[in-house]
């Protein structure tokens, strides 16, 4: 089910993802402001929509500075890695029937692998900065993302068991009668928590934690290299929202409206929810975060997997 013009899809997805990430920066600031009884950026263009563009112009004109004490090439490479891995993950996301770049039969594993590679970006950025705060941020990122990846993968396996395939298109098609959020509610909750931790979003933004570590792993970054981390984070949110939609909420499936619109509506809902999480929740302590991950989330996801497997074996075999 690959479109007849793969190049067109490729360019559309690339530009779409980057544009939505840019729009998300604006949307996040407006929504945060809404929930804090403010207005947010509303001056540049209609409703402040051009704010991201103005920010981009500003970032481009900033001095592109590499600290003299930094490990220069690693320092420059690190922001590129996060963009690369996140954009690569979009290769396997099925937006609508026919709108998918590559219909891999191991799409779920590919997504997990790419999100694991993303850790390198953060750790290398923290390491190459040769700055103690950046290094602390990088170390936190390594520990946090590795631990949360463990049950991120496990929480998905229930869905994979139900669909009987690692292929995301098959998973969406398997949700013809019922969204997987119903039988896999625990898996959905676990995956969402892991997804927030993977994108280093606010309740779990310990690698950045600006109140303790200056700006964490990107303390030394400025200009467009910082912009890459920034956009990378927002594309990451978009990616995780897309994956939640595809894996648990029936992807493009829905009545009346065209598939791509359904996909968009569902994804936007989760994007909004991610921003609400940021607006509402404080950041846990690092040891609490690790304890949560290993002592609560991991056993829960294992139990979820076992029960799902047992039920599948007992009733649907």
């Amino acid at each position: 089910m690959i479109s007849p013009y793969p190049a067109v899809t490729l360019i559309a997805v690339l530009f779409g993802a980057l544009t939505i990430a840019g729009g998300l920066v604006w949307a996040e600031r407006r929504l945060l402001a809404l929930w804090q009884d403010r207005y947010g950026p509303n001056r540049v263009g209609p409703f402040g929509l051009m704010q991201t563009l103005a920010d981009m112009i500003k970032l481009f004109f900033k001095e592109d500075w590499v600290p003299p004490f930094a490990d220069k090439w690693v320092f420059i490479m690190a922001p590129a890695i996060v963009m690369f891995t996140v954009l690569m993950s979009f290769v396997v996301v099925p937006f609508a029937p026919g709108i998918i770049i590559s219909d891999l039969n191991i799409a779920v594993l590919f997504f997990l692998g790419m999100s694991s590679l993303g850790v390198y970006s953060i750790v290398l950025a923290g390491w190459a900065s040769d700055n103690k705060y950046a290094l602390l941020g990088g170390m936190r990122a390594a520990a946090q993302m590795l631990s949360y990846e463990v049950f991120m993968g496990l929480s998905l396996m229930g869905t994979v068991l139900l669909a009987g395939s690692f292929d995301l298109v098959d998973i969406v098609n398997a949700q013809r009668h019922m969204w997987f959020v119903v039988p896999q509610f625990l898996g959905f909750v676990l995956f969402m928590i892991a997804g927030i931790a993977e994108t280093r979003r606010l309740p779990f933004d310990l690698p950045e934690s600006e109140s303790e570590l200056v700006a964490g792993f990107h303390s030394e970054y400025s200009g467009m290299k910082f912009g890459m981390f920034f956009v990378g984070e927002y594309i990451g949110i978009l990616l995780v929202s897309s994956m939640i939609t595809v894996l648990f909420f029936g992807g493009w499936r829905g009545p009346v409206l065209p598939p791509i619109v359904w996909y968009f509506i569902k994804t936007c809902f989760f994007l909004g929810f991610f921003i609400l999480l940021r607006a509402a929740l404080p950041r846990p302590r690092f040891d609490q975060l690790m304890a949560w991950g290993w002592k609560l989330m991991l056993p829960l996801s294992l139990a979820n997997l076992l029960v799902t497997g047992a039920v599948k074996l007992a009733f649907f075999h």
Partner: protein
């Protein structure tokens, strides 16, 4: 866990609250009459300068942003030859207004004094002097002070007793 969901819901409900932002250039916040903004020099009800160039404001100023030079006119009234406030230093503390014995220097509820050039932040006397009496419409220092100036001798000020004749032995 429940408290987290409760927090999320409470924050979400803020979407329907009134926003507190004042959209500044279009809407303006109400500044009270006592607001400590741009400093002015006022005049007495007769239109003369109130400032008697006593330097108390310059002494009271914690950031030394006030500079002036006293002089006297032909009638014996003291006034500042120049009066200069560097608003790029001023912290709008209002100590000058408190120190002023003649209500000449006053702070006003005006805060819109942005400039592109720092030099433009230095206000001279012609920028500071206003045409009216400011917050004290009836006060006239030279009419109540027992100081002799041209056209007003000792003992002629309001509620001032006639001067004692030092050469008289009568009680």
């Amino acid at each position: 866990m429940l408290s987290i969901i409760r927090t999320l819901w409470d924050v979400f409900l803020h979407a329907f609250r009134k926003r507190v932002t004042i959209q500044y250039p279009e809407q303006k916040a109400y500044l009270s009459a006592r607001y400590r903004g741009r400093i002015i020099l006022s005049r007495d009800p007769e239109g003369g300068e109130r400032c008697v160039a006593c330097y108390l404001c310059a002494v009271a100023c914690p950031v030394d942003c006030i500079a002036l030079q006293a002089t006297e006119d032909s009638t014996g009234r003291r006034y500042p030859e120049f009066f200069r406030i560097n608003f790029s230093r001023c912290i709008f503390c209002g100590y000058c207004e408190e120190a002023c014995p003649t209500y000449a220097i006053q702070l006003t509820p005006d805060i819109e004094m942005g400039e592109y050039s720092r030099q433009n932040m230095v206000y001279e006397k012609e920028h500071l002097l206003i045409s009216g009496p400011g917050k004290y419409p009836d006060y006239n220092f030279w009419r109540v002070a027992g100081v002799k100036i041209g056209g007003k001798d000792k003992g002629q000020a309001e509620r001032e007793a006639p001067p004692t004749d030092l050469r008289s032995l009568l009680p």
